[in-house]
Amino acid sequence: MSAHGDMIKVTDGIERVVHWILAGSCLFCLITGIGFMYHSWSFIATFLGGPYAMKWMHIFSGLAFAVSFVYSFFMWKKDCQFESQDLQWVLKGGGYLWNVKDLPPVYKYNAGQKAFFWILVACAIVIIASGVVMLNPLYYPVVMARFAYMLHAGAVVLLGAFIVVHIYLGTAGNPGTVSAMLTGYVSRPWCETHCPRWLADRDSWKPGGEKDVA
């Protein structure tokens, strides 16, 4: 037995680092963006050293978000490809809404996680592209610049709501999950519940089961 006992490695170091750069920059942008959007919440800007400082923080955090987003896209897009069983999983509410006995066995990510990934991709593309326009709005036709401001805010409505779902399901909603993004290890029963097909595959690759297969 390794130092991790009967724990199974589900993410590697680079995945966790990129995840947290993406998550941290995204949350920071969300909070500073809310500080810009609601004048009544100007204490956020005051706390960060004034709106001018916050403007540049938002821009640099947005840059970190953009870079880590592009990396994550190529890192996770294969794992997040939909397959035919995903429809079954969705029709059963993923077992989250009512009691379901026979959920189709999931490979690495379930349909909900995959959907979150693609929603993130769509929103991030809109937010990053419009953000680039907003950096120098006078270089573009005015109609285009006006749409950029609108779309930047519109995509955040969607992404902001889905981020809350993601945080809940990754922590309180699914006990034992958060360690996948902290230490990288989860328990064997967790894998049997959440990614049984992937676990079976993994066991067949490495009979000892404690090596790096994530």
Partner: protein
Amino acid sequence: MAEYIKLIDVTKCTGCRGCQVACKQWNSLPAVDTMFTGSLQNPKDLNYNTWCLIRFDEVEKDGKLNWLMRHDACMHCETPACAKACPSPGALTKNENGSVVHNPAYCIGCRSCIVACPFDIPRNDKALEKMAKCSLCHDRIDDGKKPACVTACPTGCLTFGTKEEMLKAAEKRAEKVKGVIYPANPHYETHVMYILPGTVGVEDFSHMNPHPKMPATLYWWKNLFKPFTLIGIAGVAGAAFLHYIIKGPHRVHEKKEGGE
């Protein structure tokens, strides 16, 4: 405090540009080198250091040549698009006297206002990273004076007074010269109004928006997406909490004995 209107009677403008100079002087705006470009209009456009500009157009209509001179500056909107777009509290404020005033101390140079303005008025000062535009000389108004441009105007083209007075005067004058009052959109009120000669249309003037209104994108951004950002986050957080207390978290099935 009374609400004021600046009335610009284009039929009386001789293009002397006294207003343009007075504006520069009162607001201590730096001079710029200009070039003759074949038109009376000089400099070519509004700038961070040119808050009011006499625009010049030559228009032929019905075989008659018209020389159009128009004083162009901030319209001081009743619901200013610029202030609605601005992210920095205090950078753009609408005052009771009707003026929309920019305070550079709070401006962060994001240029949202420039994009939002239906009249394309605000300009960017690259060196300072701040926006700049006409303030209707709100400091003079508060002191019982008229804006500098109005004070300088020798022909009576520019007049300034309370809203009621000016609306009445505008109607009377428009009737007399068979002109039109601009802007005519009752849903987009401004504290600067024009009387345009009836012989030409709004479209004949350069840099004039024939249908001024709040940009629809700004409406979606500020009236819909803005509240829904927080409603969405709070709503989903509430739903997650209800899920936790009603359905409960999704626990891992322990198949084997002696599991953790």
